[in-house]
Every structure is written in C-alpha cells, then in structure tokens.
C-alpha cells in the first residue's frame, strides 16, 4: 500500500515551458543577480559592506583619483594592482555610493554575475551536460563566502571573474589548438587578472607553461622521435607563446613601468614599507608566520582555508570530481586544464611557504598567537575550481548519485545556516584581524561629532580614523599620496592642516610628536582636543574656518 501523489504532465510541461523562456545561461545570470541583490541588501542592513579595513582603502584609492587635493591616476599608488580601483572610479563619483561601499558592491556584484555565467559555460564546455553545468554554477552562486565578498569592494571577485574568463577561453583553446581567437581572449583576460591581484601573475605563468607543453602531449614516447617532434613543433610553439605572452604579460610589464615612473622603483610593490612583504616581516619577527619554510604546514593552511570557504562537503565532492576528471576522462589536455584550475592553490601555498603571505585560521592557528583569524578570504579563490569539479562529478554519475549530490549540497547549505560551517570570510571581516568594524575607536565618534571643516592630516596606512564613515570630504584629507602637502606638513604642520589625527607610532606621531622640537611647534599652532591612550587629535588655533 502506497500513499501517492501524481504531478500531472500538464504541470511538468508548464514548468518546462517556463524554463525554456530564456536560455540556461540567462537563468544562471538571473539567479546570480537575484542572489547578489539579496546578499548586498543583507550586508548593507548589517553594516558589513565595508567591514574589512581593506574595503575602505580600495574605495578611498578610487575616490582619490577623482576627488582629492591632488586628483589623478597617480593616486592609484604602487602596492595594490590598479584594475579593481579603475573599475570603482565611475561609481565613487557619487558620495553616497562611496560612503556606503555600494560602489564596490556594484563592481563585485557584476563580476559575480559574469563569473557565474562563465563558470556554467566552462563546466558545459568540458562535460557537455547542461544539468552538470547548472549544478556547478549553483555551487558557486550559493557559496555564502562568495556571496558575502561580492557585496564588498574587496578585489577577490574582480580577480575571480578574470580567472574564470581566462580559464574558460584557455580550456577552449586546449580543446581546439587551432582556435587562436580563444587563445587571444585567454591572454586578454589573463592580462586583466594580472592587473587585478598578484595571483593573476601566477595564472598567466601557468598558462604560458601549459601552452608550451601542450603540443608535446601528443608527441611520440621514444626519446629520439620525441626530440624530432619537439624540433619540428618549435616554431609553432614559439609563435603561440609569443602571441599569448605579449598580451598576457603586458600588465606585469606595465606595473613595473608604473612603479618606476611614478614611484621611482619598479619593485616598489614588493620593496616599500607598505608592501605585503614588509608586513610579513613583522609577523616573522613575532614568530607568527607558521607557513614560512614549512611546505606541509603551508599546504595544510591553504587546504583547510579553501575547504572552509568552499564548505567541507562541497570540497570533498570536488576532490572526488577532480579525481574522476583526471582518471576517467581521457582527453589529452586534462592535466593541463587541472593545472590551470589549481593555479590559485599552488600560488597560495607557495606564497605561504615563501613567507610572502600569512593566513590565520582557528582550526590550525595556535591559540597562543595574538590573532587566530586573518586573511582567510584567500581561500575563496578555490571556489570556482570546487564548483567546476563538483559540476564535472555531477555529469559523470548516475541519476541516483545526482540526487545524492543535490541532497549533499542542500546539507552543505544547512551546515552554513546552522553555524556548523562558519561563513569564515565574513567572520574575518566582522571580528577577525582584517576587520575594521570590530573595534571602532572612540576617536571616530569624537570626529563625527566635532569635525567642522578644514584639511585633515593623517597617516592613511595606520587607519586612525575612517574617512568614509566620518563627515570629512575626501578632498579635505592630506595623506602620503598628496605631494607636496603631506611632506611639507610633516615639516610645517600648520601650513595646510586644520586637524591632525595621529596614532601611536604612526608616521605623523613619529614626525610631529616624538621629536621635542616639532612637538613644541605643534603645540604652538594647535590645541590637543582629544586624547586616548593611542590616538591624539589636534585642532589649529584661531584660524578662520576653511571651506
């Protein structure tokens, strides 16, 4: 005896007709758009859009290009790569979009939608299965870490979209090595990736190596014939390598040139005091750089970080998917495709090993460290690869297994919802070391209440006061990039500034407060209007209010 329910053919036909109104890619775009808007609304309501300290910095860099004491492209600086900021520029014209961070949400959200569509196309390209492609895209767009980061001005989604676009066209080329337009597009998007985040440099390097090795995959096995084949293919390989590299590596050359022309050092991005390398030295001095020089620890750190971002169930499925792709699929280019997909993994493990980067994650970082949550968002770079592998796995199993995959995916979402799997990239922004909103200094409230116009001198790197959250217009700030205002102010503080914000041991504190002579000068022209153990605020004496 069975209790039964019949879904009538007319109903099924109706659903099919509805689904056929637009193409699957368009459905993916619609779903991604809906989720992007909904999650942005959530972040906006919770005040999480600019929770990362870096989020504000990205917005400020873009804003300074169009609205500062010394506007212009030189404001892009020489540490962070410029494309995410260039994309923000049209939106930060609006003070509302800049101050709320929605300018970043628009850029990251657009990248998210395009990423979802091209992830769908990538899985379809390899599996030739629409349901699997849809599954892969869903794994990506339903990932809460991705959903959160696409609401912020952080640069991860910008890199992800160019990573996916470049990978899609590269896989297309791997499938048909006569498809030169695909190779050129892969190079172009690779170029975009190289000026988005440094991870992009590694991506194009891997693609270039694959490009050289790819024709050799079909070479005869015996050594004599192999070399003969390699010699005969040399010209073709050389041509394609030059064609690809000229465009793909152009961004890297541009960046060296930029550093040389604007900042006087082509390696400014790695040598300067503000570089990641300099910051890692501080961690190393505290003996809190766990991955440096330890390959296994570096591997474990990034493995666990990417697993936490993708979700433990999806990550496990992806490992199976990758194994199926590599060992069941017989296409000659599969190892090369896997190398490109895994480029973020290799890059991050190498960065940790070389001490160029640091990640703290509660499951691995010793509790004796000052912080146990930092930079875990680097793990989201593996979400596209996880989505691809999960999608591929979906294409290779029987209908019963597909139902199981669907159930496991729902279970994964459930684990995020009940808190078993934390939305770790959001957590880092909200309470981790990367967070700016975790401990808003009392001085911020003082400025909000008492700022009454005039130029403000502060060390932007120290992030003493959030400009974006204060009533201070960007053009009223003096920071290190405003030559000669900033440099002159460190000699004659009274020359431009009406307000001086300084934090213990920041550049301004060292220049104006630690030096007794300069301190005398400071007190001659300024009055200390706010004091806390680490932050001091000075206001110019008897100067008419400037507009």
């Amino acid at each position: 005896m069975v209790i039964s329910l019949t879904i009538k053919n007319s109903w099924i036909g109706g659903v099919k007709r509805l689904a056929g109104i637009i193409s699957p890619e368009q459905w993916v775009a619609v779903a991604a758009l809906f989720l992007a808007v909904a999650s942005t609304a959530y972040s906006f309501a919770m005040g999480y859009i600019i929770s990362y300290g870096d989020a504000e910095s990205h917005l400020n860099i873009a804003k300074r290009v169009v609205d500062s004491l010394t506007p212009g492209f030189a404001q892009l600086g020489g540490i962070w790569l410029p494309l995410p900021h260039l994309l923000l520029i049209p939106f930060v014209y609006s003070d509302f979009l800049w101050r709320t961070g929605l300018a970043g949400s628009i850029v990251s959200g657009a990248c998210f939608i395009v990423s979802a569509v091209f992830l769908y196309k990538t899985v379809f390209l390899v599996s030739k299965n629409r349901a699997a492609a849809l599954f892969g895209a869903l794994v990506f767009i339903l990932n809460p870490n991705i959903l959160y980061l696409q609401t912020t001005p952080m640069s991860e989604l910008v890199l992800i979209v160019f990573f996916i676009l470049s990978t899609y066209y590269f896989i297309k080329y791997v499938g048909d090595q006569s498809d030169l337009p695909a190779l050129l597009l892969a190079a172009f998007y690779g170029f975009c990736a190289t000026i988005s985040r440094y991870d992009g440099w590694f991506l194009v390097a891997i693609e270039a190596v694959v490009l050289i090795l790819l024709p050799l995959a079909g070479a005869p096995k015996s050594p004599g014939k192999f070399w003969q084949f390699a010699k005969s293919s040399y010209k073709k390989i050389e041509g394609k390598a030059v064609l690809f590299s000229t465009l793909a590596f152009f961004g890297i050359i541009l960046w060296f040139g930029w550093g040389w022309l604007i900042l006087g050092d082509p390696l400014y991005f790695t040598d300067s005091d503000y570089s990641a390398k300099s910051q890692q030295l501080a961690w190393a001095a505290r003996n809190e750089l766990p991955g440096k020089g330890h390959a296994v620890v570096s591997f474990l750190y990034y493995f666990v970080t990417s697993m936490s971002n993708a979700g433990v169930i999806m990550f496990t499925l992806a490992i199976f998917g990758l194994a199926v792709y590599l060992f069941k699929n017989k296409s000659p280019g599969r190892w090369f495709v896997a190398a490109v997909l895994l480029a973020p993994f290799i890059f991050n493990v190498l960065s940790l090993y070389l001490g160029q980067s640091v990640i703290f994650i509660p499951s691995l970082t010793p509790t004796s460290y000052d912080w146990t949550l930092f930079n875990v968002r680097y793990g989201v770079m593996m979400v596209p690869c996880v989505a691809f592998c999960a999608g591929y796995l979906f294409s290779q199993i029987r209908p019963g297994g597909r139902s199981l995959l669907a159930i496991l995916s729902v279970l994964q979402i459930g684990l995020f919802v009940v808190g078993y799997s934390p939305v770790i990239s959001m957590q880092d922004g909200v309470v981790g070391l990367s967070s700016e909103i975790h401990q808003v200094p009392d001085a911020q409230y003082f400025v909000d209440k008492n700022y009454d116009g005039g130029l403000v001198l502060q060390d932007d790197f120290a992030r003493t006061i959030s400009i974006i959250k204060s009533p201070i217009p960007m053009k009223n700030t003096i920071y290190v990039g405003n030559k000669p205002y900033y440099q002159e102010s460190l000699q004659e503080p009274e020359k431009y500034a009406r307000w001086i914000f300084m934090q213990q041991n920041d550049e301004i504190w060292k220049a104006l407060y630690d030096d007794p002579a300069m301190q005398g000068r400071l007190y001659k022209y300024f009055t200390k209007v706010y004091t806390s153990p680490t932050i001091l605020i000075f206001k110019r004496n008897n100067v008419p209010e400037q507009s």
Binding site: V2, I3, L5, T6, N9, W11, S308, S363
Partner: protein
C-alpha cells in the same frame, strides 16, 4: 546442512566464544561497593584499575545505585561525588551526564547479581550481552544482506568482536555497545522492510523504535542513525513515470509506523519534564559538577543549563575542530583509529574493491562511517576523555569489518598474501585491544598526559602486565594466584589467534570454492 542450521550453529558458536572472552576480560569486582554512606574505603579501586576506571562508568553506575535505593535518577551527594566530573546539576539536584538507557539496562542485572553477591559483575555483564547480540546481528547482516559465506561472516564478526576496541567497551559500562546493537537492528529491519511482505509494517516499526530508543542511550544517536533513516526513506519512497505524469509514492507502513517514534518521543519529553521540570532540558547540557573544584552554586544552575544547552548545539560540533579532530581520531598516537586498529587499512581497500558493486545498503554503511568520523572530528573533545582508543568512532568501527569482507572476496589469486596480511594486522589490532581489556581501559590524551606527567601511548599499559595489575574479574578471582597476568594475556591472545587462523583456513573453501 541447510543455511538456516548453519546460521544457528554459527550464532551459537559466537555466543559461546563471546561469552567466554567477554567474561574473561569483564571489568568487575565481587561484592557491593557501598557508596551510600560516603566515599569508598579503597580509593585506589576508583579511578585506578577495575570497573570504575573512568568517571564515565562511575556516573552511569551511580545512576543504577540511585535508581535502586532512592527510586530516582538524580544522585545524592556521595553518588554525585563518585560520578564526578561526569555529573551535572540542576534545580539543586545532581544528575549523571548520561541518559538513563545504560543504567536501565544494567539495573535488572544488578538485582539479579545481588543474589550471588556479584551485583557489579552482573550489571557490567549486561553490556557483554548487548555486545554478543550485536555480533549476532552483524553475522545475520553479512549472511542475509551481503551474501557472505558463513565462515566469512564469522570472520567479519570476529574482527569486530576481538580485533577492535569493541572488545574494550563490551566489558564495561558505556553507551557505545547498545548504540551499535540498535544500529544493526534498525539497519537489518530496513532491509527486511525494503523486501516487503506482510510483516513489513513490523520491520518499519522496529526501525522507528530503534531510532526512538537511540537517544535514551546517547543523544548524538539522533544524528549518527540518520543514514539508516535515509536508507529507510529511500526504501519507502518511489518515483515513477506514468501516462498521467510523475507519480511520487510513500509506503503506508512507513508513515503508519511513525506512531512508534512519536510514542517514544513523548516518553522522552515526559521523562525530561518529570526529572528536570522542563521538557527541553537534557542531562548532557547541565552545568558540570566537579567535586575537586568544591561545591557549585546551585542557585543559578537553571540559567547556566539553558545557556549551555544553546551553546552546545552551535559550538560543540564545529567545522573549526575538524582538522585536529580528524588527526586525533585517525592517526594520532593517543587515539588514532589506524594506530590502534591498523586492520582497517584493509577496510579502505575493501571500499575500493566494492566500488563497482555499490548498492543502497553499502552506501548506507559508508554514510554511517563518514558521518561518524565527521561528527566527532568536529567535536571539541575528540579524544573522548581517558578512553582506550577512538571510542567515539565505535559506530564506524562496527561497520568497517564488512568492507574487510568485501576485500577478502576480491582477493582472487592474491589470497595467500592477503590472508597473511589480514592475519598480521588482526594480530596487532587484537593484541592492542586485549591489552586494554585485561589491564586498564584508560589512555590519557596528550594534553592531559602532559598535565598529569604520564604517557599518552597505549603500550604504557603493558607495565600493568608486569605488575600483575588487572581489571579483569575472572583473572583476579580465579587465576591471579596461579598464573601471571602476562601468561593470562598470552593465553587469551593465542586462543583468539587460533580461532582466527581456523576461520582463515575455512574461507577459501566457501568463498573461492578451493
């Protein structure tokens, strides 16, 4: 001989062997331990070697005594001290942290044992009975569901019963063995239900009954048994294309028998309400009473209980614990599955061997293993206190031998080497388990071992062999003056190996037709 007769004979053999070995290692002492008048006279016996090595056993045993003397599950102060720190407090009363299932099982045996002045031995033997029943169930599962030959089924059962820490927890008062028994019964019942027939509704009721009884022994059983419920649902659910459309069906007996679960759920709610005055309170979530830290503030216990209960769901099982927990439970020297029972390497090979013959039944077993491993790897204390081996993985340990069975079936011409490897790994695993069983079922986790300045390795227990210190009731009562503990250990070990060897010699005839 018919299959039925063969099965009966094998089960009788299992009962006999199980009874002998479990009695030989049973943790007990003769006579009464009167805690009702205060702390025991011989503290070395409590927390030392014997039936009360860990607070886990003491806490459940204290509940038996309280049920007997005070007709309540709350513990008077001396019993709370005895069970501490696995004791909580609420509304001015003390309670064991554990649900009442184990104590309720031991209770009638305790009364029976009183007639022969052996209440502890009888109470503890209730777990041996559950263990033997679980082994019999596994035998039936191997025979009926997987079609293993009788010797192979016996071998699978033998691996579980005498080559894993299943042995260590069959001779003392823990919740794991009844849990495994319920799992096996429910799993088999689903299979019977799936086959249909006029008694299908009865099998369905048995599944719900097992699931409903699960939390009476251990609360996480509600989660650990989910794969079996999934298997149950998949067996009741149907999807078919008809001329009219898509027909979705659910068997009546699945829905109707749900009443059994509802009744057990109501009973659980009634129990919580009558004991704690609040149906939502469960003993695991009570604030801990640790007698070494002095008397607790009983006045705010209610608030603490609610807070802890809310915390426990969200934070006790968390993904952030996963890497450490996974390491501890699989390869760490203190509790690692493959360190205590390397025979399970063969189970991994068995999973590979069976990959092309996957059925819903095999998927369910895999899901039980995966869920068990993930759940307890995510637990804040994956060590399981002072347990001997990864006791939290016992549900997975119980089903993994089936995969060794598949591996043996797949051996083909490599059977000689395979059997040798199996024998060697079994010998190691069995030696480790037996060591804990005849000495002390306690190994300190690394953090506590450092604090207590002791070892976190199981082989540290070998020193008890030299010192002739055993927790075994049989050894202490009947053999201690005649043979050394080392000799006793070696005799038992040799007997286990001989039986294993005999089974290995029988298998080729039945599995490969040699």
């Amino acid at each position: 001989m018919t299959d039925n007769k063969k099965n009966i004979l094998c089960i009788a053999f299992l009962v006999l062997v199980g009874a002998i070995f479990y009695f030989a290692t049973l943790k007990a002492v003769p006579g009464f331990v009167d805690l009702r008048t205060g702390l025991p006279n011989n503290p070395a016996q409590f927390g030392g070697i014997g039936p009360f090595e860990s607070s886990h056993e003491r806490s459940s045993y204290a509940m038996v005594l309280s049920m007997l003397d005070y007709h309540t599950v709350s513990l008077p102060k001396p019993l709370a001290d005895f069970g501490s720190p696995d004791v909580g407090y609420y509304n001015g009363k003390f309670y064991s942290f554990f649900p009442p299932g184990v104590a309720a099982m031991a209770y009638p045996f305790y009364i029976l044992g009183e007639h022969w002045n052996l209440p502890i031995a009888f109470a503890y033997f209730s777990m041996c009975i559950a263990a033997i029943l679980a082994l019999a169930m596994l035998f039936i599962i191997c025979r009926d569901i997987f079609g293993f030959s009788a010797p192979l089924s016996l071998l699978v059962v033998f691996i579980l019963g005498f080559g894993t820490i299943f042995l260590n927890y069959s001779i003392t008062l823990y919740q794991h063995i009844p849990t495994i028994f319920l799992m096996f019964v429910s799993y088999y019942s689903v299979w019977k239900f799936r086959k249909g027939g006029k008694f299908a509704w009865l099998w369905a009721a048995a599944v719900w009954a097992c699931y409903g009884l699960g939390p009476i022994f251990d609360y996480p059983n509600l989660i650990l048994m989910l794969p079996i419920l999934g298997y149950f649902f998949a067996s009741a659910f149907s999807l078919a294309r008809t001329d009219d459309g898509l027909k979705i069906g659910l068997r009546n007996s699945f829905v109707a028998s749900l009443v059994v679960l509802l009744l057990l759920g109501v009973a659980q709610i009634y129990y919580n309400r009558s004991v704690f005055g609040n149906w939502r309170i469960y003993s695991n979530a009570l604030p801990r009473y640790d007698q070494t830290l002095g008397s607790p503030d009983l006045s705010n216990a209610a608030t603490q209980a609610i807070t802890r209960q809310k915390e426990s769901v969200a934070s006790v099982f968390s993904e952030k614990n996963l890497p450490l927990g996974f390491y501890i439970l699989t390869v760490s020297v203190d509790k690692g599955l493959f360190v205590y029972m390397p025979i399970f390497v063969l189970a991994i090979l068995g999973m590979y061997a069976v990959r092309k013959k996957m059925t819903l039944e095999i998927w369910t077993l895999l899901a039980i293993c995966a869920l068990n491993l993930i759940l307890y790897s995510s637990f804040g204390d994956p060590w399981g206190g002072l347990s001997y081996g990864p006791r939290y993985l016992l549900p997975a340990i119980a089903v993994l031998p089936v995969f060794i069975g598949f591996w043996i079936q797949s051996l083909g011409k490599r059977r000689l080497w395979g059997s040798a490897a199996l024998f060697a790994l079994f010998a190691y695993s069995s030696a480790v388990s037996l060591l804990g069983a005849v000495t002390r079922n306690v190994v300190f986790p690394k953090p506590e071992a450092l604090y207590a300045d002791t070892s976190n390795k199981f082989w540290f227990n070998a020193r008890y062999l030299k010192l002739n210190q055993s927790g075994s009731f049989a050894y202490n009562e009947f053999f201690s003056g005649r043979i050394s503990l080392t000799e006793y250990y070696l005799i038992l070990f040799a007997a286990i190996l001989i039986l294993m060897l005999a089974l290995l010699l029988l298998i080729p005839k039945y599995e490969y037709g040699d």
